[in-house]
Symmetry: D2
Subunit: 446 residues, 4 copies
């Protein structure tokens, strides 16, 4: 694959130390250049598999073998998939691999067994790999622009999933070189940003025997050198789509005859943001994407709104959800339109288990490059890693969500977000250390 | 061109009577199957030219020769033009003709001189030829669907411009067979629906010597058999585009950090429709097309609105325009966004000259198929034919805008609009009769 | 009554000419100082009766004898009535007269018979007498302020009804001095501004035998010296009150628990003004008065809106009415509130009869001070004189609504509205002339 | 004072035990019958002073002697004060006392010294005494209605300040009968509900020597028998008034001429509630009271909004305040109106000192009737007790805000709020116990 950065040394893998930072950086930058939104991670998955095969794994499950396919949410239509498939092939993705992901069944699960793995624990590390459908900054102050690895796809890795995928590869490399005895599953999850990939991965069967599940995120406003042992405060989330349908007409000649779907939309947006705050905790609402109408002189007969509501708990999400539905229904009725509401994605809240948090908190300050260890912090956002965490926890396993701080110039999801690459080896070491410590200590749920 | 309906008799044109209704119907249905929105009328123009050449004209001006190219408004981008160009070629349009329309310079002006034309008057008939960017009904009750000439392009002839273009061809055919002495210019105008084609056609030079200008519309809620000698009440119109730009951010983690362009948009829409009515006459407002945002979990940083304001007079349009600008600016400011406002199209009001109205009113009830003749009626909409009417009137010529009634099941611009084809020969006869009567009577402006 | 301006000459009434302008001015200024809103015209009615008795009438009907009491709309509560009753008494109104108006039955009907009145026609002149609930300008440029007859009640004669009442007295005086033979009824109507007095006066029985009904308005943007023979374009109107009820709660501690009536109100107001315009004619909407809530820290549990919709025809009013109800109901539902809707007032449209318009148009330019006579003009507002006009017309009588131009610095209903007192004798002469001409010519309905 | 419930035994006060519950209940019910909103607590203050004098105090400061008068916020106008003054006198308040409160200088500070008070500590107990401007339920299920002590003033004790005042009297009675040595100041604060009384009381001078300040609230969703040692989570608050001024006009005849203040108001309300939530903590917004316009047919030229914003911290309140100002300014500008913004009240946040919380937490479960003791809880609302707490804390003293649970059928500020009278003796004992324990232990600030 000619587009890949030269991989000197790949024939001679390191055996006694971390993956060379150069390799981590090169991989992360390659992924950063090819960001792919949810269910379109054809290039990304193929590129990850290439790395997995270089390192060596015992089992490799791609796409439909890695997911409960029917549980997927927010899958784009065929035309959209075809376009991204084509782009991935042009960027050099292995056509055979891409074929295995037909229908947008992206992502992969790799399994590595080491030593007396039958008596050892089964660990899983989940990293998400999708990009966001937004443009990346072209400013010279933005490192990817300046250094030439800015997005080439129109989408953007504006949330650091390029670093997450890199962590997965780095950890596998390091564990391979360690005395770990047990089973390590690497879960490369697609479609996190649309809250679409967590549930199908949780129900794929691959988590049924997992004793310890780790998930990880970079940044979250923590600087390079700071890590958090256990992230909580995941907001339960529902993503909604409301389609308003009215009736067209000539806006000049018969203004009274139409039923104006954009008026319904505007009324809904205004009142969605105005849903009262709740005394019992954090709530959120966003009308993230809207559209409607056809021409300036036609009364708009259709419009749509894609948005989300969140709550610190499921009850708070339900409160927001109920109010949002009322707002949307009444806004439609006010303008004699119909509103068709559908759920695009949903994720519960979850919490990191104290036993893992304790363990991470105990050793993290010894990791090279770490100068600050927080025990816990709140995400304040949503994450469908909660689907996996809950799945493992409900079956008696333990789960935790770690944060690897990284200086990021722009906020998450903005055009100037970037990952400080010094945090790449820190994350690999922190996660590898956690895997090894868990295998050694084998903490149990309360 | 294989996609065309069989044209028996085209080698033997009629010499002594009206264009055979069969031919009119066939042409109209062919155009109906290939509706093309503004500046994309590649197939339509090519098809019209084919007919013009069959009948025979003295001059033929295509695209850049027919228009003051720099005056065009609302021209789509290259990708959009390329897509429609491709579609036209696939539908059988002559590639050489399509090449002459490169850059979206669609439309044509045909000139026919007869008899002692230098002493005769110069007449012009303007017909518009573009379709609307909306889907057509698939219901069986909708004749084009039932009879198999429903749109194949995704756009729709929902305002009868297929009939208008057919009138132009029919009139040329009939005048050719008449004793008319003078010059007849057929103006096939693109981009009426976006108020984009009138001005470049008016300033093309082809109107500089025109003594009498006629324009025509079918329907307007008049039934088949009814005609109107002079349409007035053209609303002056301004089409606006407002682009709101704010700042993105993670809607869950940092709801306070963004500057929400969709909130600005919704506030603007609500308040645009609420601009107070005016005691001095008709005003209109429509937010015809909106869009914005990228994903449910990103605070929307950009949104746009395409809309229009109208007034019975230019002053009333200015009133609406001023208020609309205030609303848009304040809505942006309220949400700490910027609003960038641009004008997409504009047309003045105009009136049909009494001398022509008198003349038409005098003979119209003798036209076959006409059972009701109204002297005047109001359009209640906008039309950039007013650009041409004013241009001719300001240079001492006369102009009138006639209406040929047609039973139409759905309203103009709706999915079930259709033309009663019995009105095709009526329109051809009415317009031909007007041309001949004007040549005979030569009325002068007051 | 000490507060009245000195009335020299009242013991020696003029017998051969118009009421002295001085007297007209004095009366008008006295009324202007004591404006009383709908159903509170205690002082005004008493003052008018004083003038009537000075001139001499054959019958005098006050309050319940002048009105179909049960048809009254928009009557204020007892406390409000008591307050204005008290104010009238303090201003010097005759207590006995005020007692006859108990319950807000204000207004009066005076009947004068002259000559061989049984063979003569029965004429009626309706003038309205109520003020508006708004403050009057204190600016020195405002004549009533400068000259010391600015409102002393907090309300304001901002629509010239002080002049209308004065016209009534002036006409009676002039007719008394004329050779008129027939019956003249002076209808001093209360509560026009709330569309509340027209219907009870129409159905009082006093109009049953009326052959010719005249109504009049000053100003309407016509300058002093201009008169209009027939006003049309009365907008049909419905006045609505919507009471929103939700549920209170502590806005800080339990923001989620209330059902916010002010949010419902605001949503309703925004969308009421945004009801689409109508192609068939003039429509209007106004949310003229709102209120709600109790304290900053309580979620507002109640709010109300008083507003109106109008239409050029009854159908157009119904269109607005239907849409307004939908908006109000949906706004309430959106915020889980209830909306209770009631009708406060209603008036139809009406037209001035051509026979009277002809007659007025014929002689008006001979009236002293008149320099411009328009045949017809549109009101563009509403007026419950239409109730009386329709009542007379439906029984075979004729009716017309005249306009007496007056220079007015501020617009109608604004703080700086004022009547140019030079128009007082013009109005009296025009109306007297019309009465005499009608008696002479006796035109019949078509 | 004849309206008071019979007070047998008032000549023979208890010397060895708590105030008889009967007396507490009678006092609370009397206050409940006469609720008076902010700065109108004439009857309430007089009634409290009557009790204070019965028990005996060393100093009594009323109104201007109890407050820094110039620091008062939200004081009503003279007419309003006169009305409530009159009502208080009619209800039996001592005229001489009411005179001392002229100008709305309500409230009182009582000082009692016992034993070797110069070596003892100076304690202060602050209780607030004002009612809310809202109607009280008439339902039979509502105890005050059923038992005949429902509000007679139109206002309502819907937040338990009747119980708070009763606590003050009860504690004084109990301390008098105790071996307490030191100075006890009873602060009966007016105008808490409008965030108006805290600052003038804090700066009255009476707090300058206070070592320990206690404040207290009933209910807060804690049941009878539960108490909280330290309430925190006071929201910083700003109360705003926005006055919108536009221009009137006749809504039917000249809809375009006005500048509509109610449209500005509605736009502001919609967008105020839509101010984005903040990731760093709790925010609140409420448009608690609105009004505007005069009549249905006048374009409203004035409207107002009284509302509040809150934040968990001062920074969060500033965030809300900034956004609210932007919304109000832009809403006015959008409708060509002016907005005049003023601050009505403001209070900071504050926290209960750990040393007092510790002490209360230590003994509270021994208080009769207490079956649950919480260490800390959040208020989630605002309280201008924070002005006093901060004042004392900044001068080296300690402060705490306790909660005495009470079963309350309706929520705070609703029409069915009520206090379970079994909580009256619990509150008195808890507060007395805290006073005595503080005097005994004399904890110091860290």
């Amino acid at each position: 694959m000619s587009e890949h950065p030269p991989e000197e040394g790949s024939t001679d893998p390191p055996t006694d130390g971390p993956t060379a930072p150069d390799r981590l950086v090169a991989l992360r930058r390659d992924l950063h250049r090819h960001p792919e939104p949810a269910w379109r991670e054809f290039y990304t998955t193929a590129r990850i598999i290439e790395e997995l095969e270089r390192i060596g794994v015992d089992e490799l499950h791609v796409g439909p073998d890695a997911l409960a396919v029917d549980e997927r949410l927010n899958v784009p239509d065929d035309a959209e998939l075809a376009e991204w498939r084509e782009r991935a092939l042009e960027a050099g993705a292995d056509p055979e691999l891409v074929d295995r992901m037909a229908g947008g069944n992206t992502g992969a699960v790799a399994v590595r067994r080491q030593g007396d793995h039958e008596t050892g624990p089964t660990m899983a590390l989940r990293v998400d790999i999708d990009g966001l459908p937004r443009a990346e900054s072209t400013a010279d102050a933005h490192l990817p622009a300046r250094e030439g690895f800015r997005s080439e796809t129109g989408a953007m890795h504006a949330c650091g999933h390029d670093a997450h995928a890199t962590f997965g590869i780095g950890v596998l490399d390091r564990v391979r070189a360690s005395d770990f005895e047990g089973t390590l599953k690497l879960l490369f999850q697609p479609a996190e940003e649309v809250i679409g990939g967590g549930k199908p991965l949780a129900r794929s069967g691959h988590l049924d025997d997992v004793d310890y599940l780790l998930a990880v995120h970079v940044g979250l406003d923590h600087p390079t050198g700071e890590v958090v042992a256990g992230i909580d405060g995941f907001l339960a989330v529902t993503q909604l789509r409301a389609a308003f349908s009215g009736e067209g007409g000539h806006a000049g000649a018969r203004p009274e005859e139409g039923r104006n779907a954009i008026q319904a939309l505007a009324t809904a947006v205004q009142n969605l943001y105005a849903i009262p705050r709740h005394s019992e905790g954090v709530t959120r609402v966003n009308a993230g994407q809207v559209g409607g109408g056809t021409a300036t002189n036609i009364i708009p007969e259709a419009a749509h709104l894609e948005g989300e509501v969140r709550g610190e708990t499921t009850d708070l999400r339900e409160y927001m959800d109920d109010r949002a539905r009322q707002v949307i229904a009444s806004a439609a009725e006010m303008h004699s339109c119909e509103a068709d509401l559908s759920i695009k994605g949903q994720a519960p809240s979850a919490a990191s288990d104290e036993a893992i948090v304790d363990l991470v908190h105990g050793f993290a300050d010894g990791v090279e490059g770490v100068d600050s260890v927080l025990r816990r912090d709140d995400l304040g956002g949503s994450e469908d890693a909660t689907e996996l965490m809950r799945y493992v926890q409900e079956r008696g396993g333990l789960a935790a969500y770690l944060c690897v701080g990284t200086d990021h110039p722009g906020g998450h999801h903005t055009a100037t977000f970037d990952v400080d690459e010094r945090s790449l080896p820190i994350g690999v070491e922190l996660l590898t250390g956690t895997v090894l410590a868990l295998a050694r200590e084998r903490p149990a749920a309360d």
